[in-house]
């Protein structure tokens, strides 16, 4: 065997000892023993002559490492899962709070408008009756416990109502874009739920 053949057969061994012809390793060993140029490959030959699953290089970190590994991966997943979740929550609150602030301003404008209307009415009728939303229990059950999805649903329902609202009176008191929506068109339950939620917020 010459050195070229040695190298070719060694490469064949690297590709899979099972595919190497019988006696291949013995022939290569014999050549490595006799050839100074190929003697340096004796160690490589010993590794490549093993089944692939046994071709470790003495750097297996040991049983304790393997036993702990899955737990370390799990801890890292938990840590990584928490961090992005906090970021998402932080980001999602920005438009949510902006919507709440806009809703508050809208309600304020509506309350001013309504108050002037009610005052005029009371002056006419002498009645001191308060609207239901003004005497609602606070904080409201269900909305004060951080049930963001329920709050979002309330706002979404209200926003949908706003989209369908027609122009109303009191546009001069409304500082937002577009005409003043007629909040009176909202049904009582939605308006009450919205007000309860707004009252429960520390904006």
């Amino acid at each position: 065997m010459d050195c070229g053949s040695f190298e070719r057969e060694l490469a064949g061994l690297a590709a899979g000892p099972a595919a190497a012809e019988r006696g291949c390793v013995s022939r290569l060993r014999q050549h490595a023993r006799q050839c100074p140029e190929c003697a340096g490959s004796a160690g490589l030959l010993e590794v490549l002559g093993r089944p692939a699953a046994q071709r470790e290089l003495g750097d297996d970190p040991g049983a304790a490492y393997w036993e702990a590994f899955a737990g370390r991966v799990r801890a890292r997943i938990d840590r990584d899962e928490l961090a992005p979740a906090a970021k998402v929550r932080g980001r999602s609150r920005v438009p949510f709070l902006a919507a709440a602030a806009a809703a508050l301003a809208l309600l304020g404008a509506w309350a001013l408008w309504r108050d002037s209307t009610d005052t005029a009415t009371r002056r006419g009728s002498g009645s001191d009756e308060q609207p239901a939303w003004a005497t609602a229990d606070l904080p409201p059950p269900g909305l004060a416990d951080g049930d963001v999805s329920a709050q979002a649903d309330v706002l979404a329902g209200w926003a949908a109502s706003l989209g369908a609202a027609t122009d109303g009176e009191g546009s001069e008191a409304w500082g937002g874009a577009g005409p003043l929506p007629d909040v009176a068109d909202l049904d009582d339950d939605t308006r009450l739920a919205l007000l309860r939620w707004l009252n429960a917020q520390s904006l």
């Binding site: 690297a14 340096g40 490959s41 160690g43 490589l44 470790e56 290089l57 590994f69 991966v73």
Partner: protein
Amino acid sequence: MATEIQPSEPADGEPDAAVVERFLAGDSRAFDEIVARHQRAVYLAARRLLGSHADADEAAQRTFVRAWRSLRGFRGEASLRTWLMRIMLNVTRTLRAERVSGEGPLADATEAVAPGRRPDERIGSGQLGGLLRAAVATLPPRQREVVALKVFSDMTHREVAGLLGLSEGAVKAHLHQAVANLRRRLARHAGGRV
């Protein structure tokens, strides 16, 4: 060092695909089983590619964290091990880039090399692993990847070709060249010139 082999799929056990299905159905413990089955193959291939235990450990952990996030997208077109190896390859490339850009040095892969003694003496004293690790670490990246996957992870030429985006012929050529390079490096080392 421990040399026991953990088969990726126990002969009398549940196939990988079934474990993945259990995970997708909400059994989070199934993921631990996936890790246990493939952790050794992933780590050792990463070790061949990166050289040090610290880097291989980091790569193996990142691989499984990514797998956790992406397992819902696993279509089963390749074996789970091949899929994990693809993630591992991407992770090791990212890690190398991070190290090169100054986010931490790759650990010296030439540990346990003691030049100047005859190869058979070093083999006899248990330094063969260190010699070969050092030699593999000096291979060009593509050859190192082929060696890690083909020689030490027992993947087929087709699997390696698919992972690396090469033809099977190119994989064989890289492997042949890698062995030739290893021979040269080991011969130089045997003469104490490294």
